[in-house]
Amino acid sequence: MIKVQGLVKRFGAATVLDGIDLEIQQGEIIVVIGPSGTGKSTLLRCLNFLERPDAGWLQVGDLSVDVTQARKADILALRRRTAFVFQNYALFANKTALENIAEGLIVVNRWTKARAHARAREILERIGLADKADAYPASLSGGQQQRVGIGRAMAAQAEVILFDEPTSSLDPEWVEEVLSLMKQLARERQTMLVVTHEMGFARDVADRVIFMDGGRIVEQGVPSHVFTQPQDARTRDFLRKVLASQTSPVP
């Protein structure tokens, strides 16, 4: 289980996260939506300590950290419990698809190379890229790269996978294969926290949708509720704008 309490992040004078409280149950799939610049990505980055929060408590599994007191060891432990999927894939450019997935197992979990590669092959199989094991990122399509990025996150066996706009950099033709892999993970009840503008995915897959604005959680609930009966004016405004621009309208 993941618990976030009073999480605050400031960049200079700007407060990007203004006291976030959030609980995620094991196996829960949460989609975070909201206008650009409202702290959605920053929330994910704070959970992974890619950004250091200014205040708050984080609990991931058996690890509980006061972010202001977090030491190096706490930060490493926290990162090992949270896996991250980046908008720009961020695959290791000097490593093959297989090595990208095996890297963390070898370096962080101290597995033998043989064991790590065997696991990486299993994962490549699951993400449908068994034939690309020895391909370098530069030779893969955007969709394939992001699937390897998801495979790398799967290998970590983290408590939660954090998806930071995983399809936003993709050409339209590759979006579907990435979303379908994410749906597959959702069916396997992989705990996921997903920042995305794919409203169809939110509606079909999420257990809970969170709407953020101005560094706060404005509204949350099951997708059918948030999408059809948004309570807050800001949510209504955002949904009207977004849904108008997306091809498949919410019924």
Binding site: A93, K95, E103, Y136
Partner: protein, 224 residues
């Protein structure tokens, strides 16, 4: 008399070849030591370690700002006057020392630039899976920086091989020193020096060929 005494040149070649190992050894030792020192200096600069950073800047400024020949004379003739135990220093050691310090100053900057040039996303991805700073440097950043740094580092190595010829001013009989002696004996200065010039050129061309192969191999991951 012929314009060019080819037979003399052909006879000189095996004589000079005996001095080639010393030249290459000084260059290789200088290159390895300079690489190690340069990596250290580059990491200090990248991490901006307080105190050490300022010392590194001063070091780089001095060794880039003064001629190699002056530095060699300083080590060989100057330092023993200051530090008695250095009277033992021989020309070869002084040359390796000079090459190391001089070239590490240049190489540190190109290594630093290569490290800084590795995309930030690579570091973030490594951090996100729980790597330490040391692990991500060793496994992700430095291998990628190497690819960028290799062409310039090879340039410095080529320069260093040629710079070993300055050792002859410290009384070391290496390739250049041997040529000088042979030429003084035969008075065939042009033949002697064109021979040694061709030898240096040949070595450098060989290295350039190796460099192209190395670059091709390092670039394999980046072919689309």
């Amino acid at each position: 008399m012929d314009v060019l005494d080819i037979d003399y040149m052909l006879g000189l070649l095996p004589v000079l070849l005996r001095y080639l190992p010393l030249t290459l050894e000084m260059a290789a030792a200088g290159m390895v030591l300079a690489l190690v020192l340069a990596c250290l200096l580059a990491v200090i600069r990248v991490l901006a370690i307080p105190g050490l950073n300022a010392a590194t800047l001063l070091f780089i400024s001095f060794f880039r700002g003064t001629p190699l020949l002056v530095q060699l004379f300083l080590f060989y003739y100057g330092l023993p006057q200051l530090l008695a135990f250095l009277t033992q220093i021989n020309g070869i050691t002084a040359t390796i020392m000079g090459l190391t310090l001089h070239f590490s100053a240049y190489m540190a900057e190109s290594i630093r630039a290569a490290i800084v040039g590795v995309d930030r996303s690579q570091t973030e991805a490594a951090l996100s899976i729980g790597m330490t700073n040391g692990q991500l440097m060793r496994r992700i950043v430095l291998p990628q920086a190497t690819r960028v740094a290799v062409p310039t580092l090879m340039n410095y190595f080529i320069d260093m091989i040629k710079a070993t010829s300055l050792a002859f001013t410290l009384g070391v009989t290496e390739l250049m020193g041997a040529t000088q002696k042979e030429a003084a004996g035969s008075f065939l200065y042009f033949e002697a020096f064109i021979t040694v010039a061709l030898m240096y050129w040949g070595i450098v061309e060989l290295l350039a060929w190796l460099q192209r192969r190395l670059e091709k191999r390092l670039g394999e991951a980046y072919r689309r």
